[in-house]
């Protein structure tokens, strides 16, 4: 039976802000010793969580467990600052009684920069809950379920309800939600609106990606601006919006280049960096440090690319990881690289496929910002026909010279399960060895890290790669 731990208000968030991200930011000023220490002590925390490494393991492994080179860690340092500042801003705003705007996870919070109010990604603790111990995200999920949230809803959004119910995230004054990527989002944000009583704006995501659909989503964006102006009682600051969107363009440029370079054999980048960037995008896109981080990752990858060096010395397997990434096992990328010489060259959310935002006029900014929101990872593949899933997958297989696919069969993705036969046939036609995992990306009670390791290991062995 899962134990319900009593936690002080925002305990998990504060732990991340003041203990982990803060520490990381300061320590990584001198990345080499940190790298060496992480590497040296890896046997103590790599295999399993125990009472000694409980508060450290997830954070250390996410940062590569001593397998991520110092230069890359230095870039991630800026990401840690962006995350810390963003979370801190929301916690402080709540304390001061100022606006805290929740933003659903497959939308970004750029627009809120133009209103100078704190934004908070409602699903933050899906990742950052783990830093306090691996049982905490399942505990938040179980809290929501015990209160009557349907068990079959996606755990990523169930956890948001649990976080709110257990006072682990700042209370919202406004909520911005959307009808993508799935029904769980549609229903949970109604639940959250009901529970919090916060005025909510929902983006109505179109099914197609054609001119009419983009125009409709743009209209939604204008409606969102009106909603914010009305409730924040402040006019939008176009100058500030331009500033943040110029930075977003820069981030997209750097990360897009990293994705392009990852096509090289051997692959010069590691997917955890792009995944980490996705988390920054979700939680702290407004921060100037997000650009520093993207630039840092670009520089590291470029150096390796120009020298023809891979992220692993002996690259043996090139993997496309398809469908949502595993929240509780972020170490999977480094583990694959270290154990099998297997590199995830592209994935579902870290791969950048967006549009440049024309910041010359307010109209162009809103138009392109809307379009870019429809192209965010997970959102862009999930809101429409199955071709949005398969065609991008097919392109990645070709472009990245993939050897195999790891398909993350997340329990919450009903539309994904309903399309599985099509995906399977698609991959079979291409003779692409694929491991179909059955898991819950945020809840290790379903399939544990150890079980996942075992299944992947067996898959590689059966294909003669290990």
């Amino acid at each position: 039976m899962l134990k319900r731990k009593k936690l002080k208000k925002n305990k998990l968030l504060r732990f991340n802000i003041y203990h982990r991200l803060n520490l990381l930011y300061w320590m990584l000023r001198i990345p080499w010793p940190v790298y060496l220490l992480m590497r040296l002590f890896r046997p103590l925390y790599e295999r399993k969580e125990n009472f000694l490494n409980k508060r450290w393991r997830y954070g250390l492994l996410t940062f590569g467990g001593g397998l991520t080179p110092p230069a890359e860690m230095k870039a991630m340092r800026m990401g840690a600052k962006a995350l810390r500042d963003s979370m801190k801003g929301a916690v402080k705003a709540e304390k001061k009684g100022e606006h805290v705007v929740w933003v659903e996870w497959i939308l970004n919070a750029e627009i809120l920069e133009a209103f100078d109010v704190a934004s908070f990604n409602t699903e933050t603790l899906n990742i950052f809950g783990n830093t306090y111990g691996e049982e905490y995200p399942p505990m938040l999920i179980a809290e929501a379920e015990a209160q009557g949230v349907p068990v079959e809803n996606c755990s990523a959004v169930k956890l948001s309800v649990g976080s709110y119910m257990m006072n682990q995230i700042p209370d919202p004054t406004l909520i911005i939600a959307s009808s993508h990527p799935c029904d769980s989002s549609i229903t949970i944000y109604q639940t959250l609106e009901y529970l919090t009583g916060a005025p909510t704006f929902s983006f109505d995501t179109p099914y197609w990606k054609d001119d009419d659909s983009y125009a409709y989503f743009e209209e939604n964006m204008w409606n969102c601006i009106s909603f914010l102006e009305e409730h924040i009682e402040k006019k939008i600051d176009w100058g500030k919006l331009k500033e943040v969107l110029d930075r977003v363009n820069e981030i997209n440029h750097y990360l897009g280049e990293v994705c392009e370079m990852n096509r090289a054999i051997p692959c010069p980048g590691t997917m955890i960096s792009l995944l980490f960037s996705w988390v920054i995008r979700e939680v702290a896109i407004r921060s100037p440090q997000a650009v520093d981080m993207a630039r840092g990752l670009y520089d590291v990858t470029r150096r390796r690319f120009e020298k023809g060096i891979g992220t692993v010395k002996d690259e043996r397997i090139r993997i496309i990881m398809w469908f949502p990434p595993i929240g509780f096992f972020t170490y999977i990328f480094k583990w694959l690289e270290h154990e099998f010489g297997a590199v995830v060259v592209a994935d579902f959310v870290g791969h950048i496929s967006t549009v440049h935002i024309d910041t010359s006029e307010p109209e162009t900014m809103v138009r392109d910002l809307a379009k870019s929101q429809m192209h965010l990872g997970m959102g862009r593949q999930c809101h429409g026909p199955v071709e949005f899933l398969t065609e991008e997958l097919g392109r990645l297989i070709e472009d990245y010279s993939a050897d195999c696919v790891l398909f993350m069969g997340h329990n919450g993705c009903k539309h994904g399960w309903a399309a599985l036969k099509i995906v399977k046939d698609y991959l079979k036609e291409r003779n692409m060895p694929t491991l179909y995992l059955n898991l819950d990306i945020m809840d290790n009670r379903h399939t544990s890290e150890e079980e996942l390791r075992e299944q992947i290991r067996t898959f590689f062995v059966s294909n003669g790669w290990a």
Partner: protein, 395 residues
Amino acid sequence: MNIIEQFKEIAAADFNPLLSRAKDEGRKIMGYFCAYIPEEVIHAAGFIPYRMRTAGTRGTLKGDVYFASLNCTFVRHCFDKALNNDFDFLDGIIFMNGCDHTRRMYDNWRHADLDPSFRFMFVAPHMINSSAENRLEAEIKKLITAMEEHYGFSFSRERLRASIELYNRRRDLLGQIDQLRKADPLPIRGSEFFAIIQALTALPVEESIELLEKAIDFLKNRNVSVPSEVRVFIAAGCVEEISHLELIESSGGAIVGDNICLGSRYFDLQVDRKEEPVRALALRYLNHVSCPRMMNDFRRRIDFIKKQISERKIEAIIAEKLKFCDLWGGELFIYRREFKEAGTPLLPLELELYSGSTGQIKTRLQAFFEQVRNRHEISDELIRTAGSNYRFSED
């Protein structure tokens, strides 16, 4: 066989003699999936609108090849029927982005390359506001253009106006029957009412109006009340099994109000005759009693139930969802909290179509009705919590 029994017979099958006759006369049939697709447009284009269903299912053996066990039984049964060629009488089919399960029906249908060749994805907004009204209007026009291009005919606005008249008449007649459900004693059982609507969605509208008029005559001075039964509201999405509704009734409930797809949602609101017809259709279909897929309307849905409770002397709510339905799962969460506060007993049921678990459901229903009958004040125990698979122990 009386008129109600005739409706029930039609509802229990996937094809019926009236459709067969129409088909023999050269009329075409268009399948469609959801309460947001305007039947009037289909009718004005010369088709008989046919709501896709699972009646006559032989199981999910083939359907399960395409849909997973985490998908709802509606799509698994319905697609199984499609793979068994049970819908080979269709001349076209209109899918909808109703939910994550049904929207993949469009993909799987194309992947399996099943007939008919006209397969249109109708995209309905998830919001109710002026932008969404314009969007739905544009989508209806897109559907018209797609049908014109595929079938090579020119769509007539006059025919559309005529179709709107027919469907308004049909909604009006259904509304008249619905009003009878307020009465005590009751002239019609809830299961009979839903069987009528289910049958109507597989009948040519012209004939159905005649049948409805007969039904209204038949219901005059009829009394089907059972002593001490509990007047209930049923909240649900896809309720296709009339036998399940009969089970509720035989366990002691009288269904006198609802917000189900083939219930109030089907006949709520008329299409405004004064408005431009396509615009009027968009307004009607977007603003009828909504389904939980509409993100900004849960308060209006709650108010609708509360109004029915007060107008129809409703004593309890039965709120149902199909297993793995995210949308109705979330809706039930809100209902449980809201009606606990309002002091209305609520029984959430999680079902699978054609699961055969009637014994278990009957026991729950009987216990619930007994509690409602015996209650003097609302207790926590009466507000059931579905989905509470996890129980915490305090530290």
